[in-house]
Symmetry: C2
Subunit: 274 residues, 2 copies
């Protein structure tokens, strides 16, 4: 009778909460009460079902939702776990958002600049010796892989993630991670186009950021990161020339879409979707 139930003070059925949401709430309650912590395994699905009083497919739907949020992680045959390690946000949602609303490359660089310039500033004030060492390694790897764009890209991302982690702020780190992932996802397919000169400049830029952080110079780190991202954006703009900027619709493409919408649903657009 291993008790991982919520015991007293039932969790059940806030009004207007369907069964699937109950599952999410239940797990949330377990987490908030400290019964579930990173690395722990959740009760089996069948057990959860009886505990909460819903069917197993419902439990599964709830767990899928949690998995999509990155809160849990299922391993076939083993169980459902809460990921340990540093806090991480799921990156898929942002990716979908990008596909739906057609984020431009410039918007991505802008977002990265805001986040990462701030992160670099914090890192310069707080990075631990180990974190500084990690940064040094990544910089070295960058210089070492200038003839392998794909490998270079990996270390590029790793460096930026390391900076975010060194900021000491898990929220900022999570956000950087999320946006970086979106960047990486796109960049991966175009990485080959980067010129040798660009890679060399990029490596140098990373080195300058590293040095500023190492010398505990927040303003220098911010400036270096800012310059680096602006430069990277400009380089990439040249690579693609006057070609594709937007990856998805946005408003252009498909001249007359509005009529098509009414064709296939009948339900007219609601303006207040919230």
């Amino acid at each position: 009778m291993s008790n991982l139930e919520v015991d007293d003070e039932r969790v059940e059925a806030k009004p207007g909460e369907d069964s699937t949401e109950q599952v999410v709430s239940y797990v949330r309650a377990l987490i908030e009460r400290g019964r579930l912590r990173p690395g722990d395994r959740l009760p089996a699905e069948r057990e959860l079902a009886t505990q909460i009083g819903v069917s197993r497919p419902t439990v599964r739907a709830g767990l899928r939702a949690l998995a999509a949020m990155g809160v849990v992680q299922s391993r076939h045959g083993s169980g459902t776990y809460i990921p340990d390690g540093p806090p991480t946000l799921a990156t898929e949602p942002l990716s979908f958002l990008a596909a739906l609303h057609g984020f431009t490359r410039d918007e991505m660089y802008e977002a990265r600049r805001i986040l990462e310039v701030g992160a670099a500033g914090l890192a310069a004030g707080r990075a631990t010796p180990e974190q500084v060492a990690t940064l040094a390694e990544e910089v070295a790897s960058l210089f070492a892989s200038m003839n392998e764009p794909q490998v270079f890209l990996v270390h590029d991302i790793n460096f930026h993630r390391a900076v975010a982690l060194a900021s000491g702020n898990p929220i900022v780190a999570s956000l950087v991670e999320m946006v970086s992932a979106l960047y990486y996802e796109r960049r991966r397919v175009t990485a080959e186009r980067a010129s040798d000169r660009d890679l060399r400049d990029a490596a140098e830029a990373h080195r300058r950021i590293y040095q500023a952080i190492r010398s505990r110079d927040p303003e220098g780190a911010r400036a270096a990161m800012n310059e680096h991202l602006n430069q990277a954006r400009d380089y990439q703009a040249q690579e693609s020339g006057a070609a594709s900027d937007v990856v998805e619709p946005r408003a252009a493409a498909m001249p007359a879409v509005t009529p098509a919408a009414s064709e296939r649903g009948g339900s007219r657009r609601r303006s207040g979707a919230r």
Copy 2:
């Protein structure tokens, strides 16, 4: 026979992709090909099931996952839709992350500062007349509700969201929205403690931010936002006194939870959960 299928070029079964993920991929494909746009309704669950070739519970699990990511939104009896309006990220994931890792209030303010200072700077350069007008209204509402902390809080958040929106960068706006929601969720329960003086100062601070944006003064806007958030953080620290800072575990709280974990599963913690 309204065709919302993917037609040629089947989407089916990338290796290592379970059925539920197929559902997500399928919807993603529909989106990326422009067959689904904000405001549209997805095919019925039963129809999706036959199209993809999986059972309905599986489809439901996939749709739940998408809903958790904020990509879709189901309305009982009506259908499943893609939300329209400005791009928005789900806020629950961050909330869970906060519960799991015990984000502190200072970390939240720090993250907000980084994001919103950047957003304010952008907004000062780009805000449309309508957006400026919205900001003005919210400032007015702030001054008007200084004796109703809960109402004040709502306009407070609205102002910050409006600034983020005025930044013209949907990615930044989404991120601000997400972090603000976390802030709001917590602040709501302690809003009553705010002193009249604090609210007045806060209203003034918002006015300064507004004025800087209106005068197209990016540096001024950044400075005003920075100062505002620092001040707000300090005020709130006073309110709670030397009391509770961390809301959740982090490492403290609950002396012996570990043994309970081994009781109920037998499987010892894996360190490399990733």
